[in-house]
């Protein structure tokens, strides 16, 4: 079977046996990787501190049948700015949870990986109110399940869009409206995010529109994953 090298971001870990953990990574070349980190719960393990969730690493693994085994890991980024800030952590957790559900084992996903690392870097630098929403919308679009934003998702009419419904697949015009009502500013922000003007969208100050973007992005993600994002709903009660 042999070994492989890749970069990865640790999404989650679960305890295994006495001193091991199963670590779930997302990697550009191998998709989602589930690997055993042997002895990592012992303080003197050479892996300890390197495979915590929210760590960007470069690693080497033995390829196994079901689970791989981590043989070496070196940290590229700990994202300390997120880790040490209770207010930024919920967004990071939601991103990790979403990627955990979107990524497929052993299927390369360089774009999703790059988007995740990029979003975490932005999150570490500044707290943009649309960052989480932008990440979710981008991730869904990469998977080919992004919302329709150009015209009404139901009648394709080029009328003003006034609502968002994940079930219909995007924004809706006045005559087709269902789901969550949205302002024109929200539509503009989402178009910026998906239309290559992400930087401008991220600079938007907190407003009703930025809150709406996060809400519609979360509902679209939950609709497509067919499950609730646990971390998105806990975040409000955090601190």
């Amino acid at each position: 079977m042999g070994t492989f090298r890749d970069e990865g971001v640790v999404l989650r870990t679960i305890k295994l046996g006495e001193a091991d953990r199963i670590v779930t990574f997302v990697t550009p070349e191998h998709g989602k990787v589930r690997a055993v980190a042997k002895g990592i719960r012992r303080p003197k393990s050479k892996l300890v501190g390197r495979l915590e969730p929210l760590t960007h690493v470069t690693m080497m693994c033995w390829k196994g049948r079901e689970l791989d085994v981590v043989t070496q890991a070196e940290v590229l980024d700990h994202f300390r700015g997120i880790r040490d800030d209770l207010d930024r952590m919920p967004a990071a957790f939601t991103m990790l949870e979403t990627v955990d559900h979107l990524a497929v084992e052993r299927q390369p996903m360089p774009a999703l990986f790059k988007t995740l690392v990029g979003a975490l870097r932005v999150l570490e630098e500044r707290a943009s109110p649309v960052l989480l929403g932008a990440f979710l919308l981008k991730a869904l679009t990469l998977e080919g399940i992004g919302p329709v934003v150009a015209s009404c998702a139901s009648c394709d009419e080029d009328a003003p869009l006034v609502a968002f419904d994940a079930h219909s697949g995007g924004f809706l015009c006045r005559s087709c409206r269902s789901g969550q009502a949205v302002s024109a500013e929200t539509v503009r922000l989402v178009r910026q995010i998906l239309g290559g003007e992400l930087r401008a969208a991220l600079a938007a100050p907190p407003s009703r529109a930025t809150a709406e973007v996060e809400r519609l992005a979360t509902s679209a993600t939950e609709y497509h994953l067919d499950r609730r994002l646990r971390s998105a709903h806990l975040s409000s009660g955090f601190g």
């Binding site: 989650r12 003197k44 915590e52 952590m89 919920p90 949870e97 971390s231 975040s235 009660g237 601190g239």
Partner: protein, 202 residues
Amino acid sequence: MLAGPIQELVDELGRLPGVGPKSAQRIAFHLLEAPKDEALRLAASIAKVKEQIRLCSRCFNVAETEICSICADPRRDPAVICVVEDPRDIVSVEKTREFHGTYHVLGGALNPIDGVGPEQLRVRDLLNRLGNDHDHKIAEIILCTNPNLEGEATAMYLARLLSPLGLRVTRIASGLPVGGDLEYADELTLGRALAGRHEMAG
């Protein structure tokens, strides 16, 4: 394959953590061949644990009585509370013999991905302990959760909750293990060890 009762025992043992089907079979046959009183002693101690052990009503440590032996010990300082995730962590801290206060067991750590929020932990009980200090004034809370992402998040959450209450809130230090090697230290731990360095008198 096996006679009913022994297969049943193998199945039950196989449910224990870390015990696979082969080990379960080995233990089952060991018990079968062992003297009767030895096997029954095991059965009796399992029954005893399930019947007699409960959680201390003050700190939620495992206890035989309403109040655990640590909370009931008059030599322990009730003004200092060490907050841990799990009763097993109390055993680890006790082994150091460095701590003479009392404990509070949270019953886990914040973990949004697994749906564990503050309501799932015994945070309210901790606040209640601070609120009705009928016998003692609490002076210090030591946040002794695991130094991993969930434990750190829990410590930060509690620090934010507790520090406005005007008591001393401390976090256990993080550093290099005794007998360890700088070469293999991860950056985060080594960084914290440097940040938390202390003066040495020569």
